[in-house]
Amino acid sequence: MSVSECERASAAIEEFGDGELGRAKWLLLRRHARRCSRCGSYLGRMKIVVRALDGMNHLEAPGDLEETVLTCLERACAPGAVSIFSTEGVHDHRNLFLVAGAAGLGLAAVALAVVRWALYRGRDESLAPIAPA
């Protein structure tokens, strides 16, 4: 079996999967698939896959979905209301915590620096060499 024949068959199988394979190409593919076990096997599996996927029907949405959505919208559209999917409030709080945290850390760093300065200053003075008389 020539590779190019199998490549053409493979492309035709993809078109079949898309539901776009014309009758002429289908007949050529079928003839090849009967002689080529690999392409025959692939086409067989593709048929099963397509049938399973095409058989996926719409499911019925839960009975209260419509009502819940409309209630959410009414609440979100009320004057002064914040949308239930809005994250503005969350971000505002988050920013406030970040600023407070940064300020606290800054103050702690300054206090530490002052304490270290005071300690080392005292030590430096006590270790200073005694000036010759």
């Binding site: 199998c6 068959a9 493979s10 199988i13 993809e14 079949f16 999967g17 898309d18 394979l21 289908w26 079928r30 698939a33 009967r34 076990s37 690999r38 392409c39 025959g40 096997s41 692939y42 086409l43 067989g44 599996r45 593709m46 048929k47 099963i48 896959v49 397509v50 049938r51 399973a52 996927l53 095409d54 058989g55 996926m56 029907n57 719409h58 499911l59 019925e60 949405a61 839960p62 979905l65 419509e66 819940t68 959505v69 409309l70 959410c72 919208l73 979100a76 949308s83 239930i84 999917f85």
Partner: protein
């Protein structure tokens, strides 16, 4: 983004969207009623959980109807709504760690097509002409379950294309609009998805 000539259905949607913008509660109601089954179904086929699908459908409608002013009325509402739905689903899958990227080896395996397959011979018939004898139907049901389970293991973009193409009957051009990718990318994802699903049937049929 290119605009398209709207179908009668899309023109009806556009009329309802206009109603929503003018604060007509009845228009909201009709849009939700019209699209609740497809939106819920897309979410369910992608997450595989009824409660999650319900929440995602609800989120889709609220997001869509809150943002109705941003919708381009010359575009099909359906594609816009499904985009919001697939984005919500993908966000959900990312948030809960169920997302799957597209690994290179899967793409290579998918591109390999039939040449890595088994050697079993099958009876080939014209599409749609299968004989519906009971034992064939029961085997078909079993394999359909296998295929749909395997669908849940696909990377989420592949899964979305397959669901939109086969369940919603959307063309790759429409899917490209929903997923905001070039048409050829959507088509390639569809081909790879089906090739991977075919792989799962090796040794099963």
């Amino acid at each position: 983004m290119a605009t398209t000539r709207l179908s009668r259905d899309s023109r009806e949607d556009a009329r309802l969207v206009k109603g929503c913008r003018e604060g007509d509660a009845r228009a909201y109601e009709l849009l939700v009623r019209k699209y609740q089954d497809p939106v819920f179904s897309i979410a369910y086929r992608m997450v595989g959980d009824r409660e999650d699908a319900r929440d995602l459908a609800q989120e889709t409608f609220v997001r869509a109807l809150e943002g109705i002013d941003t919708f381009n009325i010359r575009m099909p509402f359906r594609a816009w709504l499904f985009r919001i739905c697939t984005n919500a689903v993908i966000d959900h899958l990312r948030k809960y760690g169920k997302v799957r990227d597209i690994p290179v080896e899967m793409a290579v395996a998918a591109g390999a097509g039939p040449f890595d397959g088994g050697e079993c011979a099958v009876v080939i018939e014209m599409p749609g002409s299968d004989t519906e004898i009971p034992e064939n139907i029961s085997v078909a049901n079993e394999t359909a379950v296998t295929v749909r389970e395997a669908l849940m293991d696909l990377p989420e973009h592949y899964r979305a294309v397959v669901v939109l193409h086969h369940m919603e009957g959307m063309s790759y051009s429409e899917i490209s609009r929903v997923m905001e990718v070039p048409r050829n990318t959507a088509k390639t994802w569809g081909h790879r998805a089906r090739a991977l699903l075919c792989d799962t049937l090796e040794g099963v049929v």
